[in-house]
């Protein structure tokens, strides 16, 4: 559990985090979450609040269960104990989107790209005309310069991941989960997609939870960075990064960014050595 002690010399704002007081702008309440894989206890009685309308990035040492945590919140991996509520609703009552790291295996190659994007809408029972309209709308939002009528495997990796993001956003989710969405992409595409994501975030104000293995990328996008410990995993520290949006390359060289990243690294290294 985070100590939440703020010192005057600490350049980075830390959020004190009392266990049973819900912050007013919390979206996802995680209480008493426990999960073990066989003998190995990954989470033991974890409490966590994820802010509404903010980007929360999860970062931590290898094997600390970043992705497992995300998947448990996203309802993909069952939890042993505890509860996860979205504004008081269960997962089934909440519209969510999920962007996988491996876009090649997340998109359906037997469907055209536009059909892939419209698929969650089909599940939700949208009419064909509504589905088409929504895909068109998304294509405009993302300023798509490639052919959506082809098959996903005809697109570049970055385009495929962009299509995955569009698919996740199609049904107007309340929460968007992203599991290392850029780590299979080249640097150029990462930059493009990162800024697209930020644009969408600013336009919609939806809650985003992203697992990242790249500290720079995590801090760049985040309103709040969750730094995890080694298993049994708890939150080592929560860091707030409140640089104005849209963030750009100047953000990357700003003092606040450099400080937040340095602080994150410090905590990370402390946890890795522990």
């Amino acid at each position: 559990m985070s100590t939440g002690i703020t010192t005057a010399t600490d350049p980075v704002k830390q959020v004190p985090w009392p266990r049973f007081v819900m912050r007013p702008h919390t979206h996802i309440h995680i209480r008493g979450l426990s999960k073990a894989f066989g003998e190995k206890v990954l989470f033991d009685d974890l409490d966590l609040d994820i802010l509404k309308g903010k980007i929360t990035c999860i970062f931590g040492p290898n094997g600390c269960g970043k992705s497992s945590l995300l998947n448990m919140i996203a309802g993909l991996v069952p939890i042993d104990q505890g509860s996860v509520l979205f504004d008081g609703k269960t997962f089934d009552e909440t519209r969510t989107g999920y962007v996988f790291q491996n876009y090649r295996e997340a998109l359906f190659p037997w469907m055209r790209t536009a059909e892939n994007i419209a698929y969650p809408l089909k599940i939700a029972g949208y009419s064909k005309a509504d589905r088409r309209a929504r895909v068109k709308e998304l294509a405009e939002i993302f300023d798509i310069g490639f052919d959506l009528t082809g098959y996903p495997y005809e697109l570049s990796g970055g385009q495929q991941q962009l299509a995955s993001v569009m698919r996740a956003l199609a049904p107007h989710p309340e929460v968007l989960f992203l599991d290392e969405p850029f780590s299979a992409l080249d640097y150029e595409m990462t930059l493009v997609l990162r800024d697209k994501l930020q644009e969408v975030f600013q336009a919609t104000g939806l809650t985003m939870v992203m697992v990242s293995h790249d500290l720079e990328e995590a801090v760049y996008l985040a309103d709040e960075i969750l730094l995890l410990t080694k298993p049994p995993t708890t939150v080592a520290e929560r860091l707030v990064f409140d640089a104005p949006r849209p963030r750009n390359t100047e953000t990357l060289t700003s003092e606040r960014f450099v400080q937040t990243k340095a602080r994150s690294l410090e905590v990370f290294q402390r946890e890795v050595r522990r």
Partner: protein, 280 residues
Amino acid sequence: MTQSPVLEDEARLIDSQDPIHPPPPGTKTRRRVKVPLALTGPVLLLAIWWVAAQADLVSEKLLPGPVETLGALWTSLLSGDMMLDIGPTLLRTVYAFLIAAGIGIPIGIVLGSSPSLYRTMEVVIDFFRSTPVTAVFPLFLLIFGIGDAAKISVAAFAAGLIVLFNVAYGVMSARQTRIMASKVMGASRPRILKDVMFFESLTQTFVGLRTGVSIALVVIIVAEMFIGSDNGMGHRIIDAQQVYDLTDMYSSILVTGAIGYGFNRLFLGLDKRLIHWAGH
């Protein structure tokens, strides 16, 4: 052998068959020589057969020469006489195959999507898959009598098990990310089966269908030989053997082989065309 215009046309057909993965420039010429290469084997075999017959290396009582055999084949095809046997065999095989696919695919999907259910049935499936289908002939005769129903059902049984096993296996090896993706989008279980697992298993399903149709043909031919039948290629082959009409026997064997080969090519072609995403 020189390249005839017909062969060139065939080569062009192969090149244009695949619009999604057109061969890179330069391979075209190499592909063209492939067709005559593929024909070299059969031509060589015919040549050896011809030489052996001409030189009297094999008794004419066991193997007539290719000229006589192919001549007989030509005559019986032209007179329509052989069609009276090819037709029923094809029809029975197709019926058996359709039943096998119609039963094997849905059950395979359901079994494959539930590991515990599959484990429950695994021994039963493996047992019957390993049982020589000829062993259950009498049982099917008992149930269905000696008509077409017995032949078709026993062939469907053998082919169906193979289809079922392959489909189940295909579903079980479906990529987890795709299933997770559909789950997180809120897809119901039947929808995941229909929209994701079915397609994920399609490559393996086609292996099953291709093997299944071959097995169905084998069983139908055997059934036509030994389960009271008055037509079909199996009946024709054994009849020719009984009356010692060797040229007809050999030409019937060749035709039966051609049917099997045709089915195989058909399914390979369908596979390539339908599963356009293979390898992605």
